[in-house]
């Protein structure tokens, strides 16, 4: 299954020139600054904006080509917008069921109880929507889109209008959607964190053109990745969350790598998850220090030492199970420890970002 889009669109001085073929396995992020054309591209995929001469194909189905144009209501797309978009004259329940009722019975893969459960909204059903918080509204929007059993979910900066706390609250739900609801997603975002936590593929857009279209792994392997330009370099570790020990910490990792983390409210033991670790929160030691407050020590092998600004180095290393971990150190430290490709070290992780 793939999504193919070919667009050449002029809007005043701005030109959107895109020719993309995206494998639709999980979550694709359209990443770029505001004004790069990512939302326009999403609207063309949805059929909300009719670009002349554009071609949009989803799997075997042609949505737009020449004069052929399938309107949005027949594309079986779920849409989630940036700002609050619940229908104000309907209750939560009314919103959730609006699309469900219009989905032919034989196409309904998801039922209201499982969706409300998945999103943690069973208690909100009878509320008028003006009594919901921003985070609750976005969860209801997500649920509403899912209940149409869409073949593709399009998200236009779904977290941008939320505060950091609420973002953290919603992100795990989004992360679980991909796997649990088995709906491919295309998400527009300008936040590296959202890409790193949610995406499996990322399309970098700049001034209406595709700069790169690569897997998240490839995007994170480049020290000059656009994902790192704002918040700094980061690594994504994948693993399974275990049950909490008596101190409330959960083991996380794979057979050959283990970390201790505090999970978010929405994550569940047994679930595969991602950990986002900022390179500046990682230190390297040649010996494993025991009398130290930092809990997470991972044996790693250095793969590459690169420059990252003046007097700073970005060290790329591999954990025991082969995952990439970046550490940002002073160049002096790199010299003192004589770190070079092949060196063995212990990565000390100061703070572990919540699980997405």
């Amino acid at each position: 299954m793939s999504l193919a889009v070919k667009v050449h669109l002029r809007l005043g001085t701005f030109t959107l020139d895109v020719d993309l073929d995206l494998p639709m396995d999980a979550v694709t992020a359209l990443f770029g600054r505001s004004g790069c054309g990512k939302t326009t591209l999403l609207r063309i995929i949805a059929g909300l904006q009719r670009a002349k001469g554009a071609e949009v194909r989803f799997g075997e189905r042609v949505w737009q080509r020449g004069r052929q144009f399938v309107p949005l209501h027949r594309r079986r797309i779920g849409l989630v917008f940036q700002e609050h978009s619940l229908l104000p004259h309907l209750s939560v329940q009314g919103n959730l069921l609006y699309g469900y009722r219009r989905t032919p019975e034989h196409l309904r893969r998801l039922q209201p109880p499982e969706v409300t459960e998945m999103l943690g909204i069973p208690d909100l059903l009878d509320r008028p929507i003006d009594q919901l918080s921003g985070g609750q509204r976005q969860r209801v929007s997500l649920g509403r889109a899912l209940l149409t059993s869409p073949e593709l979910l399009l998200l236009d900066e779904p977290l941008a209008a939320l505060d950091t706390q609420t973002k953290r609250e919603i992100m795990p739900f989004l992360a679980r959607l991909g796997s649990e609801a088995r709906v491919p997603m295309v998400m527009v975002t300008h936040a590296p964190e959202e890409v790193e936590r949610l995406a499996s593929r990322v399309v970098f857009l700049q001034s209406g053109r595709v700069e790169r279209n690569e897997s998240l792994r490839q995007a994170l392997a480049r020290p000059d990745s656009p994902l790192f330009s704002e918040d700094g370099a980061a690594s994504v570790l994948e693993g399974t969350l275990g049950t909490a020990n008596e101190r409330g910490l959960h083991p996380f990792g794979t057979e050959r790598m283990r970390l201790w983390v505090y999970p978010s409210a929405a994550s569940r033991p047994g679930q595969t998850a991602r950990l986002r670790i900022m390179a500046r929160d990682v230190s390297l030691a040649l010996d494993d220090p025991h009398r130290i407050s930092i809990l997470n020590h991972l044996p790693v092998t250095v793969e590459r030492v690169g420059q990252s600004g003046t007097h700073r180095s970005l060290v790329t290393s591999r954990t025991a199970d082969g995952q990439q971990l970046l550490a940002e150190l002073t160049s002096w430290s790199v010299e003192r420890l004589a770190l070079e490709p092949g060196s063995r070290a212990f990565a000390l992780i100061k703070s572990v970002a919540l699980i997405g």
Binding site: L72, H73, P88, R102, A145
Partner: protein, 228 residues
């Protein structure tokens, strides 16, 4: 009752019928026009907006004059009807109905455009993504969310048609049961020095118009829909 004679009742019935038909027809016509006007900016939209608003500024005699020419036996519309074996529209109820629809058009289009502008396109896009087709979207999203605008448009259209005089006099004359509406009858009563009758009907219109506007402004406040 109320000291009104049979010709007064006939005029009241006729006026009511004219207002009702005009309102129904205009709501049907004005809705797509208003939707189109509110869905973007283009020179064509500005032009149509100006044309729709023309009756607000033109003397009714100008409108009546042109309608008389177009709808009359030698006009484009009237002549075509004649050649099809039908009657032309000057001095007929159908003729003043056409005139009323054009004359009251801004009072239907403007509140609806305003309501659609306030609504924005997002709710409609949402409904499309949830599988609703155009009719479905209109009935389940647009109508419930802009019903204030529809009530205002309907009431203003009705009320404004009630006050129509010049256009009807030009196009329809004063044919009892056909074109002699209340405003024309009041004129006739006054011409005939029949002040008591003119007074009764005038007072009736004043009270009715006040009630209508009272209701409209009440609704406008409740729904926060801008007035024309």
């Amino acid at each position: 009752m109320l000291g009104l004679g049979p010709e007064d009742w006939q005029a009241i019935e006729l006026t009511f019928r004219l207002c009702l038909y005009t309102t129904i027809i205009l709501l049907i016509i004005a809705t797509p026009i208003a939707w189109w006007l509110s869905s973007g900016h283009s020179p064509a939209r500005v032009a149509i907006q100006a044309v729709v608003a023309l009756p607000l500024v033109l003397p009714p005699t100008v409108l009546g004059f042109y309608l008389l020419i177009v709808l009359g036996p030698r006009g484009a519309v009237g002549g075509t009807l004649e050649s099809l074996g039908l009657h032309h529209l000057a001095f007929t109820f159908e003729g003043i109905l056409v005139a009323s629809v054009i004359y009251s058009m801004p009072f239907a289009v403007q509140p609806l455009t305003e309501a659609f502008n306030n609504l924005g396109r997002r709710p409609v896009e949402v409904a499309s993504s949830l599988g609703a087709n155009a009719v479905d979207r209109f009935l389940t999203v647009i109508l419930p969310l802009t019903r204030g605008g529809f009530v205002v448009a309907a009431t203003l259209t009705f009320a404004h048609t009630l006050g129509e005089f010049g256009v009807i006099l030009m196009l329809g004359g004063s044919i009892p049961g056909e074109t002699r509406v209340l405003s024309v009858l009041i004129y006739d009563h006054t011409e005939a020095m029949n002040y008591a009758s003119a007074h009764r009907l005038s007072l009736l219109l004043v009270i009715f118009a006040f009630l209508v506007l009272f209701v409209v402004y009440g609704i406008t406040r409740r729904f926060r829909v801008a007035r024309p």
